[in-house]
Chain length 345, copies 2
């Protein structure tokens, strides 16, 4: 009940507070027998170190912040798991924040994390504005950008080459013989979205097609509901042969729309998603998707931010870029292949 401090522990063990602190932080400095006595007192009293005090004294917290635009998206929870893996190995807590694609919420979370004096922040910013990141750096917080290309050269980042991802997706659709292509994309102010679209257009160019042929539907949020809405729009009137969706949630939404309209996938409409979340394989029609190494992305980012704070001066900023790969499933197979209905793999 009454909160007990290092002082009570010291009293009970018959040593000074300094010694207790040493047992906690540099046990090798204290003699075997004393150490044992202090340990006994700690567990007898149920002492728990007050992290605020430690942090106040030592200047920095044993926590790192992670800001993602949508915790509901399994891609980001996978990334979060990766972050947690390495963070907890290093004894750091992870404060997971959901910006919900809102700049305002992102702002609030950043303020909060700065107040907490976190070790570092991993962030997938909601937009391309460098300003929030600069403000953090200015306050001495190290930052790693997650899955977000940036113009800031002096910042660590872990990204995936989304241009290649877009290219893989659309090249595959073209190879399958689809002609009329559409894309459901998030706002192009978000770099990931921009690059995926660029890659898609590159694939068209490569096939000697006019990149302008790609009918892009832009949605405000990259979730299932948006995909469904975009699908409703796309499937009325003259519909495309194939749609590349900027993530799997949009693709799942589109798929639902297709089912509602009685449009058969992939016979009448091929779909390719992005992220290869676990649910992609379990969808109404198993989804072809561009896979990102989500967990690895998280782990790498956490390593970078921990390395940077360990050695702030001599740290060389790194940009790690992963290459995505295409996972082909039912939703994009050439109609001919469909005649013999065989399950995935």
């Amino acid at each position: 009940m009454a909160t007990i401090s290092i002082r009570e522990v010291a009293a009970r063990a018959g040593v000074s507070v300094g010694t207790v602190s040493n047992v906690l932080n540099r046990p090798d400095l204290v003699a075997e027998s004393t150490r044992e006595r202090v340990r006994e007192a700690i567990s007898a009293l149920g002492f728990v170190r007050n992290e605020s005090a430690r942090q106040l004294r030592s200047g920095t917290a044993r926590a790192i912040g992670l800001i993602v635009p949508d915790v509901g998206n399994p891609f980001f929870t996978d990334v979060a798991k990766g972050v947690e893996d390495t963070a907890s190995e290093a004894g750091h807590a992870v404060i997971l924040c959901n910006s919900d694609e809102s700049a305002q919420r992102q702002e609030r979370h950043l303020d909060l994390l700065t107040e907490q004096r976190v070790h570092g922040v991993l962030i997938t910013p909601v937009d391309d504005s460098p300003e929030p990141v600069l403000r953090l750096r200015e306050r001495g917080v190290s930052v790693v950008l997650l899955d977000h290309a940036t113009a800031l050269s002096d910042t660590c980042s872990v990204t995936v080459d989304h241009r290649i991802g877009g290219e893989l997706a659309v090249r595959h659709l073209l190879e399958q013989g689809h002609r009329e292509l559409a894309m459901i994309n998030g706002p192009e102010s978000v770099t990931q979205c921009l690059h995926r679209a660029q890659g898609a257009r590159d694939a068209l160019r490569e096939a000697a097609r006019d990149p302008g042929d790609l009918h892009v539907v832009e949605v405000p949020a990259m979730n299932v509901a948006s995909g469904l809405a975009a699908g409703e729009r796309l499937l009325t009137g003259n519909r495309p042969d194939a749609v590349f969706c900027a993530n799997d949630l949009l693709a799942l939404g589109l798929l639902q729309a297709a089912v509602r309209h009685g449009v058969r996938v992939p016979h009448e409409l091929a779909i390719v998603g992005y992220d290869d979340i676990d649910f992609a394989a379990a969808a109404a029609v198993p989804l072809t998707s561009v896979r990102q190494p989500s967990r690895l992305i998280g782990r790498t980012a956490a390593e970078l931010v921990i390395a940077e704070t360990r050695d702030p001066g001599g740290h060389a900023h790194q940009r790690v870029v992963f290459t995505p790969e295409l996972v082909v499933r039912e939703s994009s197979r050439r109609p001919a292949d469909q005649l013999s209905p065989c399950p995935e793999r």
Copy 2:
């Protein structure tokens, strides 16, 4: 760069540190003109309050901890969103921890949260042991149990009546004319799982059937992979007519197994899931599922924990119990209904 404190602000504004603190916390005590001057200094210097120091002084943090067994499960991210909604209204941060159904990780997170001196903890414990909760209370942390019935009478909890949920699911399957029923369940040491199974057996009893007829397959973890594995086992040999899965992830796994074995759903196998996550509607066959009000659960729990810490003495512990409801979709419709293939709703 150099971290600036309340002291610099005071110097620049030509007031004492006490006044700056008052501007921050009780602005009404400070004269208009002074207040303005201090505010100016704050923004000019880019001052950010050091939460550790505040917390050290005031004894408790403006943060609450949330421990869930699986962040990859959309049900829990929905709950988390609900928690965040009310927490951020009250100016609290949420530290989201993933125990991954491991008692050891849960333990580590609890230690961490105690060190952080969080305001309160919302937890869906990995097992039924009351010990971790008791330890927290002993240390003066208020606890709200999430979606977990408990023998502890002096603890707030927000739960769903899973017995009713199980009953709804199995009664529905029986009404659809299915005879051979199976259930894929998590360990019955987890109360949620136990209650769902009890409800299922109650439904059998109610239909004058032997509750022992329910063939229960117990899996160690409640995720897609486990569902797939259980499905592989269940679909070889003489398979049941219908399966009730203890959550949607298991159901999606089972569905994948069915597709691989060429077993048609619902014609040859009906499936009912639990939680009604967003992906349930987008599955290979839209899933019938027992819906819990996930976001509301999170919001309510956060309100409880905040209320409890606001008034620790006079607080009466509450148990809030929600009632689940059945959402019927394709995966469990009577084969007869299937003849005219019409999309959901």
